[in-house]
């Protein structure tokens, strides 16, 4: 057992935190509760997503929007309860980096879709283009 614990001081993390935070020995019950809450919320949101995909209760064209909203909510649950991203003062850098990362991802996905669908709309169909070239 001696090689497992170098000293009790090693496990005292109470004064700082980071994403994926490790709980100290005294906080294990609290940590377990956090993970259980996260699992419950994640299962609930996942079940709702699968239900929304098959239901006729929601207006058809709104279903993709509903699934996307549930997905964003579940990503938030994972970030808070599993990765332990918080707005605590010693976690500000992680939250700021996340905000910047989300901004870049949104620009890439929505920017690409926006440009490509408009290109598709404005271009001449391929069979007409071939006739022009002849």
């Amino acid at each position: 057992m001696s090689r497992q614990t170098e000293s009790a001081e090693e496990f005292a993390f109470a004064d700082d935190s980071a994403p994926g935070d490790e709980a100290s020995t005294a906080d294990i019950a609290r940590g377990l509760r956090g993970y259980l809450v996260g699992l419950f919320l994640a299962v609930l949101l996942t079940a709702l997503s699968f239900w929304a995909a098959g239901t006729h209760l929601i207006y058809g064209p709104a279903i993709p929007i509903a699934i996307a909203a549930l997905a964003f909510a579940q990503m938030g649950v994972h970030l808070v309860f599993f990765l332990h991203i918080t707005t605590a003062p010693d976690n500000t850098n992680n939250a700021m980096a996340l905000a910047f990362g989300v901004l870049i991802c949104v620009i890439i996905v929505f920017g690409s879709a926006w440009i490509m669908f408009h290109l598709n709309h404005n271009l001449m169909p391929m069979n007409q283009l071939l006739q022009v070239q002849r």
Binding site: Q4, I28, T46, F50, A52, A71, Q74, M75, V109
Partner: protein
């Protein structure tokens, strides 16, 4: 570590960095951030760059999802039942990895290895199910070369599957290192990075099962 509590007293009209949270390192007053904070932050930056890479694959898939070239459409090739099981496996794997974090904090060899083994088995089942799905698609002539839609699909989902497979190797390495070297500080830092990686992969899977599989079967 005990010395930092001296900074936590509130000072009225304190200059920046000397207020209520001046005891938190990384604010100047408490000295440089601990290695654990810096390592977690650095790995978090890497994970965010991974998210950006996946967002490129998502963008490509969003643009190409309708380009089936007369081949099978998303609705024809996706099996929601299989996806539900894969989703459950990866979510439980991520949850049990969180429990392993608690076991590591409690310095319990037994529970650390039990939790990591269970987490790895769930991850392994996920990879097997996905491999079976891919093999089935190739067998029915819906491989990545069939259409732009399938190319984008195999690239996006396959890249995630590759991440999970490499993560499984990392998980096995962590188990061996905990067994051979115990709960040393640097091994625990490595495990912090692994747990972040594993949870991040589940976040990407949330986007995949929602925006690729579920939306694909609806449209």
């Amino acid at each position: 570590m005990s010395g930092y509590s001296a900074y936590s007293t509130t000072v009225d009209a304190a200059p920046l960095g000397y207020g209520e949270h001046a005891g938190a390192r990384g604010h100047g007053a408490g000295g440089p951030a601990s290695a654990r904070i810096v390592i977690g932050y650095g790995f978090w930056i890497f994970l965010l760059s991974d998210f950006v890479m996946f967002s490129c694959f998502f963008a490509a898939y969003a643009v190409l999802a309708g380009q089936t070239a007369g081949g099978p459409t998303a609705r024809q090739v996706f099996d929601p039942g299989s996806v539900a099981i894969e989703t459950a496996c990866l979510l439980l794997s991520s949850f049990v990895c969180g429990l392993a974090t608690l076991a590591v904090a409690g310095a319990s060899q037994l529970w650390t290895h039990v939790a990591l083994l269970v987490s790895g088995l769930f991850g392994f089942v996920f990879v097997l199910l996905e491999a079976r799905e891919f093999a089935g698609l190739v067998e029915m002539g819906a491989g990545p070369q069939r259409s732009a839609f399938l190319t984008a699909f195999f690239t996006l989902v396959g890249c995630h599957g590759l991440h999970v497979s490499l993560g499984l190797l990392w998980l096995g390495t962590m188990m061996a290192q905990f067994y051979a070297k115990g709960f040393r500080r640097n091994i625990r830092h490595r495990f912090l990075c692994f747990s972040l990686f594993w949870h991040a992969l589940d976040i990407i899977w949330v986007a995949i099962f929602s925006l690729v599989y579920l939306v694909g079967t609806v449209l």
